[in-house]
């Protein structure tokens, strides 16, 4: 039997979105000192590919692609729905900002190759490919390999400076990530044993609510939560994210943890929609609530700016899990599901921009002042007004103040919490917003303080780096001004449960 030809669809942008970064990573090694140039060429090209893929999903609906022409369950399929397209585009935009920022910091002297300059760009390309593979994969085992690819790119990024504390942080990160992926794989094994396939679309048809499936879902969810650093499995995140070079922190905090969150949603809403119970959704949201409160309080207590930003990631990740019970995870379809879904995803995207901007800004303060102790950054705002503005705008989005992507996202989550009668999650969101205001203003106050003598940056901060930070912060705000397009795109490929009504 000859292999079945791939369904006649448009141009396979979905393949190119994965192929481009991975081929770039492979080519970076022999290219050596030209790896930076290669990455700076590929990242804008990748953004174009991502936008074309999103346009394809927008026009034609869900895109699937059988790799090698072998259709599931024997072969592996790629699938892009609205959610994946949005994540792929977000990844490309954040990477563009980060690359613009890093092009001067990871640059070898002419004619030479240095360790950090080669490896940063090679790892960045690998990480990008792994993220796209995770967003576009439709096979649970293949997603395991993609997650491992992501881990092995992210861990060396965290220890790129190879100091004692970053080595320890990277090692701890590795242990959590490995334990997480083994648990995930164990769940996948059980699903294969019960249903004979790991294709998400086929599983959705075959899997029913039985003990084996519950065990598998519990194991896979636990594994993914360890990788997402959801409370109480968050211990590895702050030191790993705060210890990395600023450009790496931005990518780790903005994007890498979102991949495993994305897979939690894939698992609950796409692969096993009939399996999840309402109680499980409430439990997941309760952990999210714990993350919001605990992470925010810890962020309030941090002395160093990068750690404050890292703990705020722990808190903001919590919001993402509130959307699970609100968007109909483990229950009958409700009119407000679509609103909660859009709110959750919008939060993931706007947090990606805001957090990338904040980490890069923190990196610039660190560079200018030579340290990042918050209390001693007095007057930095006058020295670096653009960066401070960016930090403030990003903070606006974290707080959920209008106009910002974070505001729309939190507004949608709040209204659906009220509409669905789950008012307790609304309370958590109010408290989280107040605490976020606390830690953002705590970081901003010394920056904006007037000093007797004007503070001068110890080391000059290049203009283009300031623009990169401001650009990312503006993206997160802009999401609140023109949010209508992504809303409709997000609903492409949504299963019935979330398709009814617009919230």
């Amino acid at each position: 039997m000859p292999p079945v030809a791939a369904p006649e669809a448009g141009f396979p942008w979905i393949v190119l979105a994965i192929l481009l970064p991975l081929a770039g990573m492979v080519a970076a090694l022999p290219l050596g000192r030209h790896a930076r140039a290669l990455a700076l060429l590929l990242i804008p090209a990748g953004l174009v590919v991502a936008l074309l893929l999103a346009a394809q999903v927008w026009r034609e609906g869900e895109v699937t692609y059988a790799l090698g022409g072998w259709t599931p369950p024997l072969g592996i399929a790629l699938r892009a729905d609205g959610f994946s397209a949005v994540m792929v585009v977000t990844t490309a935009v954040v990477l563009l900002g980060v690359a613009l920022f890093a092009q001067s910091s990871f640059r070898a002297p002419p004619g030479e190759e240095t360790r950090a300059a080669l490896l940063f760009w090679a790892l960045l390309l690998g990480l990008w490919g792994a993220l796209n593979a995770a967003f576009l994969g439709n096979d649970l085992f293949n997603l395991y390999v993609a997650l491992e690819l992501l881990t092995l790119a992210a861990v060396p990024m965290a220890s790129l400076e190879a100091r004692a504390e970053t080595l320890a942080a990277a090692l701890r990160y590795l242990f959590f990530a490995l334990a997480g992926s083994v648990l995930y794989l164990l769940g996948a094994v059980l699903l294969y044993g019960a249903y004979g396939t790991l294709d998400i679309t086929l599983l959705a048809e075959r899997a029913g609510p039985e003990p084996v499936t519950w065990a598998a879902a519990a194991l896979m969810t636990a594994g993914l939560l360890a990788k997402t650093a959801l409370f109480p499995l968050h211990l590895w995140l702050p030191p790993a994210h705060a210890g990395a070079p600023a450009a790496a922190s931005a990518v780790l905090s903005a994007l890498v943890v979102k991949a495993s969150f994305f897979l939690v949603l894939r698992l609950w809403f796409d692969a096993l929609p009939g399996v999840m119970t309402a109680a499980a959704g409430q439990l997941l949201a309760a952990l999210g609530a714990g993350a919001i409160l605990f992470g925010s309080v810890l962020a309030l207590h941090q002395v160093r700016m990068k750690l404050l930003v890292a703990y705020s990631t722990v808190a903001q990740l919590g919001y993402l899990f509130l959307m699970v019970p609100l968007a109909g995870g483990g229950g009958a379809a409700q009119p407000w599901d679509a609103g909660a879904w859009s709110g959750g995803v919008l939060h993931a995207v706007s947090h990606a921009f805001a957090k990338a901007a904040m980490f890069l800004a923190a990196g610039l303060f660190l560079r200018a002042a030579g340290h990042d102790r918050i209390a001693e950054l007095r007057g930095m705002g006058a020295a670096l007004p653009m960066v401070t503005l960016a930090f403030g705008l990003a903070g606006l989005s974290l707080l959920g103040l209008p106009p910002s992507g974070g505001f729309i996202a939190k507004w949608l989550l709040l209204t659906t919490a009220m509409a669905s009668g789950q008012w307790w999650w609304a309370l958590v969101m109010f408290a989280g917003g107040l605490l976020a205001a606390g830690y953002v203003f705590r970081a901003l106050t010394p920056l904006l303080a007037r000093t007797e003598t004007p503070v001068l940056p110890g080391r000059p901060v290049p203009r283009h780096q300031q623009w990169a930070v401001l650009g990312l912060a503006l993206c997160s705000v802009a999401l609140g001004v023109a949010p209508l397009m992504p809303f409709a795109l997000l609903q492409v490929g949504r299963p019935e449960a979330a398709e009814e009504g617009i919230g």
Binding site: P2, L19, Y65, G68, E113, L152, L160, L186, G196
Partner: protein, 310 residues
């Protein structure tokens, strides 16, 4: 049947005992030795589960290379853990929790449906299109070739990660320490005698992989072991990481795989597809390049980060 059943029971009992010893052993070296023994026993279990391909991979990679990695670092990291582990009560609680996980898994295993769903018919129907005789190779290189592509990139990224730990001033230099052995000594003698045999076995395992148990990963591991032996015997040295030739060897497998996969877009209508007439030739070409790259990558993963200035 009963004799085999008895054999299975004994094997399982020994596997569990050795695994427990590896976790419970007081000192690191003993734990590592138990782990290597465990790997070999598990390889036997794979034979009993009709998975000879996996048995080869487990013996070569799981027991062999992982063992060498752990033993190598055990010799260089002498310190014991200083933070005390959890106390006795806590350990008991954790043990009970882990036992509960095992029991739940056992219940899940016992509740799996009969007859078991499987992809055996699908593989049998599709394998003629690949021209291969070994279904595992067909899955690895054709049906789920995308997994394998990502997996070779995982290996490459791991190597970059290991290299990233080198101090900046040593970047571009040679990994690991220079090994010396007395030229007339046993190790040097073995280092001269074994490589030709190992090379032969490696090529054989690669070649036979299209129709019988074997393939790129097993063969690559054997070749890596041969190279490592030559390095340890002082007959060869790890190449400097700035060497362009080395880097080209490292990426050869992924490049050929990506290249042929992309060509599939035009000649077979799908990325990573093969036109049936040329499928076997293309697959063997990909495998040959992968074997070379896997061998180099695995050997360098064991050799470690650059430690000698260029």
């Amino acid at each position: 049947m009963t004799a085999l059943w008895l054999l299975d029971l004994c094997l399982v009992a020994v596997i569990l005992a050795v695994a427990l010893s590896a976790v419970a052993a007081r000192d690191l070296f003993a734990a590592t030795v138990f782990f290597v023994a465990y790997g070999l026993l598990i390889a036997l279990a794979w034979v009993r589960l009709d998975a000879v391909d996996v048995a080869l991979a487990e013996a070569a990679i799981g027991a062999g290379l992982t063992g060498v990695l752990l033993l190598g670092v055990t010799a260089r990291v002498h310190m014991e853990a200083r933070t005390p582990g959890p106390g006795r009560g806590m350990r008991l609680a954790i043990g009970a929790g882990c036992a509960a996980v095992s029991v739940a898994l056992a219940a899940a295993v016992l509740s799996l449906p009969v007859p078991a769903p499987s992809l055996v018919p699908a593989v049998e129907a599709a394998i003629p299109a690949t021209g291969l005789g070994n279904p595992v190779t067909a899955v690895l290189l054709a049906f789920r070739g995308y997994d394998t592509l990502l997996e070779t990139l995982v290996l490459l990224l791991a190597l970059l990660g290991v290299w990233s730990l080198a101090p900046d001033r040593l970047w571009g230099g040679r990994p690991g320490l220079r090994h010396r052995a007395r030229p007339e000594g046993t190790l040097a003698w073995l280092g001269r005698l074994l490589p030709p045999i190992g090379l032969l076995v490696g090529v054989y395992v690669f070649w036979i992989g299209s129709d019988q148990p074997g393939g790129a990963f097993q063969a690559g591991t054997i070749l890596a072991a041969v190279w490592l032996l030559a390095i340890m015997a002082g007959l060869s040295d790890a190449p400097p990481v700035r060497s362009l030739a080395l880097r080209l060897v490292l990426v050869a497998g992924p490049v050929v795989f990506l290249g042929i996969g992309t060509a599939g877009l035009f000649v077979a209508g799908a990325f990573l597809g093969y036109p049936p007439a040329a499928a076997k030739t293309l697959i063997v070409t990909v495998e040959a390049a992968l074997t070379l790259s896997i061998a180099a990558t695995l050997a360098l993963l064991v050799a470690g980060a650059p430690e000698r200035a260029p």
